[in-house]
């Protein structure tokens, strides 16, 4: 305390004293987004700009015999073409060439004119092909099985147990389906400078590579991410498409606009790992998990795939698992919102649920019994109460499938980090006219970072949200880390807070003589500056700022371990419950309610937290019921590379969604984006079982699988 008085440090005020933070804040860019004024990379137009399109490999594995771009150059309007791969392609959709033209349509004409001759090579694009005895070698280094735990003791524990279930659970390859596809606009006309807009999760992540492609110094290339339409993990780095755009721009010395088409996006912009989990899970009579043996496969295309470790979240006395990545000639998986967790969660939550019903134990109690962390207990109990579990007529056995409409409830839990790290810096400026800005090069993926940068600053200076302008999304601003792993809030918030705090202290020091008091007694609150002891009348914010010199005042702050300790934290939970209605005539599942309880430390913007959780639930609902990449292994094509064929949940599928922010969590700020999409689909699948006894172990829960599980369709 004594030290604090000498050299005060930035801390959050008590929650009840917060005026801006921890409130429902309409995001500062809401109007711009709704009216279309917000300029996304897709919207950028610069004079003389060409439009580019990509030629993608039409089949999963090709030996290229001939790639002749000359015919494309003869198409009217085509300005240039570049080859990206001239030898062999290893995955369906791998970019081979790119064409730039005066219009997108002409660029497409150019693609059609390219002469491509190839020989097919053997491919593997489903599990059967990839694991066949003489399967083609997809990658030069074959993946190895990794193991976790002791097999013998896990097997022994299962043998002696009161109840065991053994089943295989599968999850499909899901796509990110960002509303804005991947792409860049490269503003380069020759010379030694360029500006590159990119739809990315990392402002500072793509610029060095763009500079390299253009043959420029990194310091002469400005990267911009004013607005971006979603990434969910798939948008890091320049990407092959960005490289192609830079190559074209360099060649034709004109700005190039290259946004992937929706089809390109499905084929070559990443996806969520699919997987298969064979699980043996055993429990004692009271529902305590005693043994688990699992055999797991990850399907990440030419990538490695990801799947969180078992036993996911739950405690199992003796657990063993083997995991193997099965490479295929398909686009690599990329990080997607909580990489590996929704998959592992589905396996674990389903197996545990099955075991609960087998033992006749209430599945909610079974969860609590095997969750050591008590935060889960309070969250599960709360969502159970909100969704009506305690009044639900059948809790330890499923409802009667003879009814035409069956109602059921299910649960799931989540875990995530959400802490920040170094590399983020912020500058707060106070101008003589009273305006205030906070600048940091970070990006806003739709998570609301732009809003809380302004909000944190406003809170510190005793202003309203609208009094502060946040400048983000440019490499000309102070540096910031990429948005992955829900780390942005934990990285950004302390930096902004410290910058605003330093600005306030510097301003207080200037104003202290005016009040004739010590700087420590100068306080910023309610749009005024006053002496905490009221010796002199308060000044309005504008009056106080008018005393600044013409250059105003600026202060910086950065993320440090020390600031992090005081202002941020890591490690969140989350519990969700779903209530569904199953139509036993058609097998259709309608999700009626989804209730989430989520901790996130100090909520910077409660409305943004709720929309993150809602978004997580929607994505999980869609994963549960609709989404699945469909490939034809024999033909070597993707069957649903459009949004007509690849259905995501629509507005009519939306359930009643309730998000309860866990206000018992008194820690500093924590990122909340990822945990929210982990439990939903498991809760829905478990609710379907609770409704009518249909245990669907293979997502998505399409109507035919539900009827099949009910034994109605064979």
């Amino acid at each position: 305390m004594a030290q604090d008085e000498k050299d005060p440090v930035a801390t959050w005020p008590a929650r009840e004293n917060l005026k801006v933070l921890n409130h429902d804040l309409v995001r500062v860019d809401a109007r711009a987004k709704v009216t279309g004024a917000a300029r996304y990379t897709h919207d950028v137009r610069v004079p003389g700009m060409a439009y580019a399109r990509l030629l993608l490999a039409p089949l999963p594995a090709l030996k290229i015999k001939k790639l002749d771009l000359a015919p494309a150059l003869k198409i009217p309007g085509v300005l240039g073409a570049v080859a990206l791969e001239t030898d062999r392609t290893r995955w369906l959709g791998e970019p081979i060439a790119a064409v730039a033209a005066t219009t997108p349509e002409r660029a497409e004409d150019g693609l059609r004119a390219i002469l491509l001759e190839y020989e097919r090579e053997p491919w593997a694009i489903d599990e059967a092909q990839a694991t066949a005895p003489n399967a083609p070698k997809v990658r030069s280094n074959a993946p190895k099985v990794s193991t976790d735990g002791d097999q013998a003791s896990a097997e022994r524990a299962c043998e002696g147990a009161a109840a065991v279930i053994e089943a295989t659970y599968t999850v499909p390859v899901q796509h990110h389906v960002c509303l804005e596809t991947h792409g860049v606009v490269v503003d380069y006309k020759g010379g030694d400078e360029a500006t590159v807009w990119c739809s990315t999760q990392s402002t500072f992540g793509f610029t060095p590579d763009a500079a390299k492609e253009l043959g420029l110094k990194a310091s002469r290339v400005t990267g911009l991410v004013e607005y971006m339409g979603g990434g969910f993990g798939a948008k890091f780095g320049l990407g092959l498409e960005g490289q192609a755009a830079c190559k074209l721009s360099k060649e034709i010395k004109r700005p190039v606009h290259l946004m992937m088409t929706r089809r390109d996006e499905f084929l070559a912009a990443g996806n969520r790992t699919g997987g298969k989990m064979r699980i043996k899970l055993a429990a004692s009579q009271d529902g305590t998990l005693v043994g688990m043996v699992a055999d797991r496969r990850r399907f990440g295309g030419i990538g490695n795939g990801s799947m969180a470790k078992f036993p996911y979240i739950y405690a199992v006395e003796n657990a063993y698992s083997e995991t193997l990545s099965v490479p295929m000639n398909l686009d690599s998986n990329r990080a997607m919102r909580a990489p590996g967790h929704p998959q592992a969660g589905f396996g674990m939550e389903s197996a545990l649920d099955e075991l609960a019903y087998k033992l006749g134990v209430d599945p909610l109690e079974m969860r609590k019994r095997n969750l050591k962390d008590k935060v889960y207990h309070r969250q599960l109990e709360r969502v159970a109460r909100e969704i009506g579990w305690y009044e639900h007529p059948h809790r330890d056995k499923p409802g009667d499938p003879k009814a035409e409409k069956c109602i059921g409830i299910g649960f799931g839990v989540a875990v995530w980090g959400g802490g920040g790290g170094g590399g983020t810096e912020c500058e707060v400026r106070i101008e003589r006219d009273g305006s205030v800005s906070a600048a940091v090069g970070t990006q806003d993926l739709g998570t609301g970072s732009r809003t809380y940068v302004a909000a944190i600053t406003a809170e510190e200076l005793g202003l309203r949200l609208e009094d502060v302008t946040a400048h983000i999304g440019s490499t000309r601003l102070p540096s910031a880390t990429g948005s992955g792993g829900s780390t942005t809030t934990g990285s950004l918030a302390p930096a902004v807070k410290v910058a605003a705090f330093n600005a306030a202290r510097a301003f207080a020091a200037r104003l202290a003589p005016v009040f004739g008091v010590d700087a420590a007694r100068v306080q910023f609150a309610g749009g005024e500056v006053r002496d905490t002891q009221g010796a002199k009348p308060a000044l309005s914010w504008k009056q106080a700022c008018a005393m600044l010199p013409a250059e105003g005042l600026s202060a910086r702050g950065e993320w440090t371990k020390d600031a992090n300790k005081r202002l941020a934290a890591s490690g969140i939970h989350g519990a969700q419950a779903a209530r569904v209605e199953v139509d036993t005539q058609t097998g259709r599942v309608r999700v009626l309610d989804m209730i989430a309880m989520q901790d996130c430390g100090l909520p910077l913007n409660r409305l943004a937290v709720v929309s993150q959780v809602n978004g997580g639930m929607v994505q999980a609902l869609s994963y549960a019921l609709h989404e699945e990449r469909n490939v034809d292994a024999a033909l070597g094509v993707m069957l649903n590379s459009t949004m007509e064929g690849y259905k995501i949940a629509g507005s009519l599928e939306m359930p009643r969604m309730v998000t309860i922010i866990d206000d018992e969590d008194e820690r500093g700020v924590i990122g909340v984006a990822e945990a929210t999409c982990i439990p939903g689909h498991s809760a829905i699948a478990n609710a379907v079982f609770n409704a009518c006894g249909a245990r669907v172990r293979d997502l998505p829960l399409t109507p035919d699988k539900v009827l099949f599980a009910l034994g109605k369709v064979v």
Partner: protein, 284 residues
Amino acid sequence: MKVVSTRSLDDALKALRDAGPDARILAGGTDLMVEMESGRTHPALVVDVWKIDALRQIREMQDGVEIGALADCGALIRSVQVARHADTLIEAARTVGAVQIRNRATIGGNLGTASPAADLNPVLFALGARVRVASTRGERELPVEAFVKGYRTTDRAHDELITSVFLPRRPAHELRFFRKVGTRRAQSIAKVVVSAAVAFDGERVQAARISAGSVADRTLLFDGLAQELVGAPLPQAAKLSEFLRRHLDAAAAPRDDVRSTARYRRFVLQRILESSLRSPAQVR
């Protein structure tokens, strides 16, 4: 590719006559543009008929309603005449695409494509629609089930244009329904779609037309089934189930595809027909 755009029916018919089989008619374009975009169709000539307002009219007649081929789903939904004569057509139109699609998707285009998954066509089958087509050679009229001849195949000669669809006046006591099971609740093509019109004389079935889509290579009319129903009250529970199974197994030939599986379609076809036929709420 050439495009002829005209406001005159005669000009359109002449263009079709002169063009030969490589021409395609463009109405709302919600099927044709998709086909062209995917590279399945490369017409030499497109005859754009969208602006021929004479083909957009919906007229109430003594014995029914005549719907112009260019009436789009939005117009069907808003039409009081259609509401009076073909309520199930409105229910079907409401499930087509989303608003933007509905404002372009015409009844003539739904027939013209003759997709097995079309939503309006089963209703037209159930209501006993007659399709009117014209060419420079003259006009003709044929029952809708004769017009739809196979997988995306119709009886239209290459110089013919669908001008309207005629729907006869409904009898007093009729059980009518339309049901669609899609991948999701909006903007989705049917996994199974059914529609029927069963007229009663007291308890007894006087006439019946039962149709389904997405369960064979084309929209089906279950006429064998309908014939057996006529003359007696609808069979009760178990009997109806058995009766439907017998007929549907023979008539339907569903397939596995991206949207669903054959076994699912077979099962659901029977269940939704059965429950709809049993539902007195559907008698209008």
